[in-house]
């Protein structure tokens, strides 16, 4: 079954720049997909449309049964609760502790305290930060902050995790640690879509790779078939 189905999607920004031309894409449940391409090829626009930060001008986007292209602004939260998003700049609340940052995503559902506590500690354990629950994000390293962000994104057990250059601000070793965490999450059944321009990571991971160029999909490598052609 398709978790994501995009059909004839087109996005032109108000300033007249067209970022995506007539794009078709299907992603199955449980897949790990990289989206790569040079700067300005439209990869960020593509995933922003998946979590409805941007709206397509034409076409259909279905994410987990929700017609995202037609979703109203005030209903966007319904989509956001079904998926997790991880950003290059982490987007953590600086004045809340690690625990509070992660718990926040559950508190808005009104879950009981004991349940929140259990779930938050479980994901913090998964990303290896159980002992830093009471720290503030500003006291953590970049890699640790990103792991907090991942914990927050997956704490409500979404079917889909969208990662927008999650390793963009991190060094090589830290990046690989983050990739290990993501791989583990993927093995537990969560579909992951990750935008990156770090081809080293993509080569090592041997996953499905979608190559974008100038707003179009130019190549769709099946799992393990990606070779760096220097594009």
């Amino acid at each position: 079954m398709n978790l994501i189905r995009m059909k004839g999607v087109k996005k032109t920004y108000k300033n007249g720049v067209t970022a995506i031309y007539d794009l078709d894409l299907k992603i199955e449940k449980g897949e790990f997909v990289f989206i790569i391409g040079s700067t300005g090829c439209g990869k960020s626009t593509l995933i922003k449309m998946l979590y409805r930060e941007e709206k397509p001008n034409a076409g259909e986007i279905i994410v987990g049964g929700l017609n995202v292209a037609k979703l109203r602004n005030r209903k966007v939260y319904k989509l956001r609760r079904k998926l997790g998003v991880v950003y290059q700049d982490f987007k953590l609340l600086p004045k809340s502790t690690v625990y509070e940052n992660v718990a926040f995503a559950l508190e808005i559902f009104g879950l009981p305290k004991s349940e929140i506590y259990e779930k938050v500690l479980k994901v913090l354990d998964l990303v290896g930060l159980k002992n830093k629950a009471k720290h503030y994000p500003t006291n953590l390293s970049g890699g640790e902050q990103q792991r907090v962000a991942i914990a927050r994104a997956i704490v409500n057990e979404p079917k889909l995790l969208i990662c927008d250059e999650p390793t963009g601000n991190l060094d090589e070793n830290t990046s690989m640690e983050i990739m290990k965490v993501l791989d583990e999450i993927n093995k537990m059944g969560t579909t992951i879509i990750m935008v990156t321009h770090d081809t080293k990571i993509v080569e090592k991971m041997k996953k499905r790779v979608i190559l974008l160029d100038a707003g179009r999909i130019v190549k769709d490598y099946a799992e393990g078939t990606y070779v760096n052609e220097g594009i």
Partner: protein, 299 residues
């Protein structure tokens, strides 16, 4: 249960946020404190002015002099007729003997003159002292009394009373205008300060949206935060009102400059003014926050 949990968390978070963003909170609280102090002073002033005006108006009396040689039965009848007029609050009869005694006590010269007359030759007239309900209609009431048979002359300080009424009307309107304007300006100032503090937290709002908070989820904690800021900001103005005014009243003995200017008694006056301040602080804080957050939401 779920709603209750969410609400109690919102209250907890807004509390935390007041302290975690302490410098911003302090800016808002200071702004609320200062503007509410000004509002407090203006409310106290205008209510006192209003009080003085009311006291002076209450002092205004219509005096109806009765025909000479009027019978006791007619006096009784006349009194009940006057009491039945709709603008009349109270009627007091004063016989010519009472008037004579009163005047003799008041002045030595008058005493000498009056002592020449015997009881039967009293040149004065019996009279009624009449208080009215609505001083603006005093002229009409006086005319109505004059029409009654047995009434000779009616006096109420014609001309002067009308002027007084007009002056007080203007003073009252000016007071209301000043207080309302001040409250509006206060609301504007406070909500602007809160707007600035929330602007610096727009990233927080963006993150809340990204992790799946609905617009309501985002608004409620900020509204509570505004409420807390309003309450915290009105503490000093309330204390200043209660203790400051009571002290002023006790120092002056309730009278300023002359007997005419009587201050309103502090209890329960200061309590009411404080409640007004608190309510203004709370409402303006809440709505200031709400309006400011709405700007950063995508609706």
């Amino acid at each position: 249960m779920k709603v209750f949990r969410i609400l109690s968390r919102d209250i907890r978070d807004s509390f935390k946020s007041v302290f975690r963003n302490f410098s911003l909170s302090l800016a808002s609280i200071t702004c609320i404190t200062i503007t509410l102090l000004v509002v407090s002073i203006s409310v106290i002033l205008s209510l006192n002015v209003n009080n003085i005006a009311t006291l002076i108006e209450k002092d205004v009396t219509i005096v109806a002099f009765l025909d000479k040689g009027i019978e006791e039965v007619d006096i009784k009848l006349l009194q009940s007729q006057i009491e039945r007029l709709d603008n009349v609050e109270s009627v007091v009869f004063q016989s010519k003997e009472d008037t004579k005694n009163e005047m003799m006590e008041a002045s030595e010269d008058f005493k000498n003159v009056m002592e020449n007359y015997t009881e039967d030759e009293n040149p004065l007239q019996d009279s009624f002292k009449i208080k009215v309900v609505d001083i603006e209609r005093i002229g009409n009431t006086a005319n109505e009394i004059k029409e009654l048979s047995g009434v000779d002359v009616v006096k109420y300080g014609e001309g002067m009373v009308e002027q007084l009424v007009n002056v007080f009307k203007v003073v009252r309107n000016v007071c209301i205008f000043i207080v309302v304007t001040l409250i509006v300006v206060t609301a504007f100032l406070i909500s602007n300060t809160i707007k600035i503090t929330i602007y610096s937290r727009r990233k927080e709002i963006e993150i809340m949206r990204l992790v799946g908070a609905s617009n309501l989820n985002i608004k409620i904690p900020f509204v509570f935060e505004g409420l807390f800021l309003g309450i915290l900001g009105s503490i000093i103005p309330m204390l200043a009102t209660i203790y400051g005014y009571t002290a002023l009243y006790e120092q002056s003995g309730g009278i300023l400059f002359s007997q005419i200017i009587q201050l309103v008694e502090p209890m329960p006056f200061v309590v009411w003014v404080s409640i007004i301040l608190l309510v203004i602080g709370m409402i303006v804080g809440m709505f200031g926050s709400l309006l400011a957050v709405r700007k950063h939401l995508k609706i």
